[in-house]
Symmetry: C2
Subunit: 218 residues, 2 copies
DNA sequence: ACTTGTTCTTGAACACGTTCAAATTTGGGG
DNA sequence: CCCCAAATTTGAACGTGTTCAAGAACAAGT
């Protein structure tokens, strides 16, 4: 079976992710991963082109689990605030075991040249999956969000999610409860804020914000 | 004179900063810095405890120059939008020579354990100086900003500045003109948006936003 | 069974950031 | 001028991520 090779690859990924969780990024050396997986250090590079690639593996797995959990949570709630809370909390739940690793993860991910960078082509599928979660959260919301916002909102919320993640990385409170409170507080505020889009003066400013955000992305 | 030692220290910092600018972070090895400064590699560690410390040196210098330039630009403008633009553009001007180095800088700075981290105690003076710029920009604005915002706004604008910096790091357009356009577009929008604070419905939401932002910072 | 081409694996090597004991230089006090 | 303690400097060493030439295991055709 050709599965022998795939087995080694998975063993490496599994060992790496466990060590990231348990002893952190720096203490998890390539040599240690290889040893624990029962292969030579050089061999690990046959399967993963760099240590960062192993972090990418983690990123992909976390995104996948986030999508799964979020979908479940979205099935039962209707209001935008509740849907947003569900999605964000699901993300935090999935990341929780990796909190001690978070800072190194972000430091790696923020490099434009890294495969882990959420804007890199290597991360395209993972980012697309993540964006899709927010599209569902917005599209399925009752009452519906104002029309003119519907197309841009998912991407903006995804950006908020990146911001929340950043906040979470720095959050040293017990079980990152500060981040939980931030989510609980911010989600209804965002939902209420969107309702203001129909207030005449606000609508004008909002249009300009959306235009700017579009022009800046292109 | 005791300046001999200080001279070596400055030579190292000067060489390091120049190399960061000219050949980037990774190619600037500690051995190369030391060689160029005419000392041994080990000796560089007598003056700087790590390569990151040299990045911190850069951060401090950039902040200082930003403060200086911003103060000059603020002397001549009154409207909040213009003042904000002046401050942000001044920041971009100062950082410009280091753009190629930006990604590595941010990756270093984002680690909570790094001396370069803007929230670290080592960065306290630099951050305080930076915050002071935004305080001046807000306090001296005519027409004045709504009272209830005046105390929180500087910190929030400083956060925006961090965001702009992040955007700038990723901005590969010629001379980072996209970031320039973002600043030109966002500054008047923020100023206009603040005017909405007096609209009844908006004020309520805004109060909650401020409360949340306060509770989350404590 | 033997050959051949591919896939997988190894172990030694490299450059890097960093550490440290030892050597050297420096600056005062006798 | 000499000596000593402190400040400075060195060069070798360590562990890291990564590379690579060489070898081992494997699959398939004859």
């Amino acid at each position: 079976m050709a599965a022998k090779s795939e087995q080694t690859r998975q063993k490496l990924a599994e060992v790496a992710l466990r060590m990231f969780r348990e002893i952190g990024f720096e203490k998890t050396t390539m040599r240690a991963i290889a040893a624990e997986a029962g292969v030579s250090a050089g061999n690990a590079y046959y399967y993963f082109e760099s240590k960062d690639s192993l972090v990418h593996e983690l990123y992909v797995q976390v995104q996948a689990e986030h999508a799964e959990r979020a979908a479940g949570a979205l099935a039962t709630t209707g209001g935008l605030a509740e849907r947003l809370k569900a999605v964000l909390h699901a993300g935090l739940d999935v990341m929780a075991p990796y909190h001690r690793f978070g800072a190194d993860f972000v430091a790696t991910a923020i490099r434009p040249t890294s495969p882990v960078n959420p804007f890199s082509t290597a991360s395209n599928p993972a980012r697309e999956a993540s964006l899709e979660i927010f599209r569902q959260a917005v599209d399925g919301a009752r009452p519906a969000v104002p029309k003119k916002l519907r197309s841009d909102l998912p991407e903006l919320l995804w950006l908020c999610y990146m911001g929340v993640t950043l906040f979470w990385v720095y959050d040293t409170s017990d079980g990152q409860q500060r981040t939980r409170r931030l989510v609980d507080g911010a989600a209804p505020l965002i939902a209420r804020g969107l309702g203001l889009a129909r207030v005449p003066g606000v609508g004008k400013v909002l249009d300009d914000v959306l235009n700017l955000s579009r022009s800046v992305r292109s």
